[in-house]
Amino acid sequence: MKSATISLVLGLLLCHFSMEAQELFPNTEPASNIPKRTLGIRLMGEAYSEGGGFIRNTNALRLMYGLTPRLSVYLTAASSNHHKKTLPSDYPYHNTPERGVFKPYEFNGISMYAKYRFLSMDEEKSHLRMAVYAEGSAVNSAHDEGEPRLMDDTKGFGFGYIGTYLKNKFAVSLTLGGIFPGRFKGEQVDVIDGMPNIPTTVKYPNTLNYSLSMGYLLWPRSYNSYKQTNINVYCELMGKYYGDTRVWVTPAGVPEYLVETVFIPPALRKGYYLDIVPGIQFIFNANTRVDLSMQFQGIKMSYARVYPQLNFGIQHYFYLK
């Protein structure tokens, strides 16, 4: 509780200093698009410590392309050491989330995202833009927490709305979306040695994701060359609201049954949270972008990570002929 309070205070303090960037948010998408016939390549990473020397990390390679000035499409391949081949034993009753155990670093799968900008109100040095997005994922990991994420944890689809306002050096953006994850059908190792694995099906909850991102251009104070390194500071408030996870198990000799909610741990129950994510960004030669941000616990908590989480991104645009 004490560490949560310290994280909250630290996060808010960092955000306070970074209140005043641009809309190139490190962790969320703006309503603006990738320019037409431009290929963006982004490498992303997240890392947090579970204690005992266990560092969990997720990495992803994202290809982004501007199909039209209003429509951008993304293809993301993700890998992580967040999942084993099987769910934890005694799932879902105990050991969820499973911390401090070895999990192999593996490829998680591919996801797609498309964003369409339907409104642009451009003025000199300002704009208001709105977009809708849809995403789908073919990821099929043995994800043991309830909270879904299409990039690396669960299959499924999602869609949502983005509104971004930019004025001079300040930008603010709101995202509201739904995630409709599919089921994971797999197995868990029986707690009794020698017994066969237990077929287990998990239906991750439908989820509302929300974020409010703010950014400010810190440097340069005045543009005169592409060679000037840009420094943007950001503060993002990101969270999700999700329902109960449902789990069906089929132990040997017993028909499949749904585990009642009262027996499932908090990480699989209905919940919500809001993280505070201050960040800094460097843009070199008006193209290569490096993002660094730290995700702190704000309101409630996500069971899909241990705070604080370090987020990293590097991105470059290739303007095709």
């Binding site: 990738i34 008006a286 002929k321």
Partner: protein, 168 residues
């Protein structure tokens, strides 16, 4: 008969004031980042009639030099800015050689002075007010300055008209 036709065509060509755009300034709305300016620059550089683009970053404006003897299409230029994700606030162009007149045909497009009847001169700067170039909101800002439609003296057939006002 053929001789008369040749004379007729030469006569028509003589009526038509010839213009050659040499440079343009395209101001861009909706951006404040240098990466955005670069995206506009790269989109403009794809056009085959542009020889050089220099972006003014602080007041996002593209300073464009056109290639000589290439057909210039300002609507493609505006579309390139939109392709980069932004919109055009204004298009100012500088005329090269020009016969006196209040209108001229270039690349099958009729450009006419909508501000006054003052004859054009070589080197004049004009502000183009085509509705496929700049948004309706920007066009409305110049409503007061538009005094006339295409003058009756500009009789040539054209694929489309672009009104302009003289800047100097």
């Amino acid at each position: 008969m053929r001789k008369y036709l040749v004379f007729f065509l030469l006569f028509m060509a003589g009526l038509q004031a010839r213009a050659q755009f040499t440079q343009a300034e395209v101001s861009v709305n909706g951006l404040t980042c240098s990466q955005c300016s670069r995206s506009v620059e790269m989109a403009l550089k794809r056009l085959d009639f542009i020889s050089k683009v220099e972006m003014e970053l602080q007041q996002p404006t593209a300073h464009i030099v056109f290639k000589k003897n290439k057909a210039i299409d300002f609507s493609k230029l505006a579309a390139a800015v939109r392709d980069a994700g932004f919109s055009v606030r204004s298009v100012k162009a500088r005329l090269g050689t020009l016969d006196n007149g209040t209108c001229f045909l270039d690349n099958k497009i009729m450009y006419f002075n909508a501000g006054n009847a003052e004859p054009l001169k070589a080197g004049a700067h004009i502000l183009l007010l085509g509705n496929d170039l700049i948004s309706k909101t920007e066009l409305d800002k110049y409503k007061q300055q538009i005094k006339q439609l295409r003058p009756v003296s500009c009789v040539q057939k054209a694929q489309k008209d672009i009104p302009f006002i003289l800047l100097n």
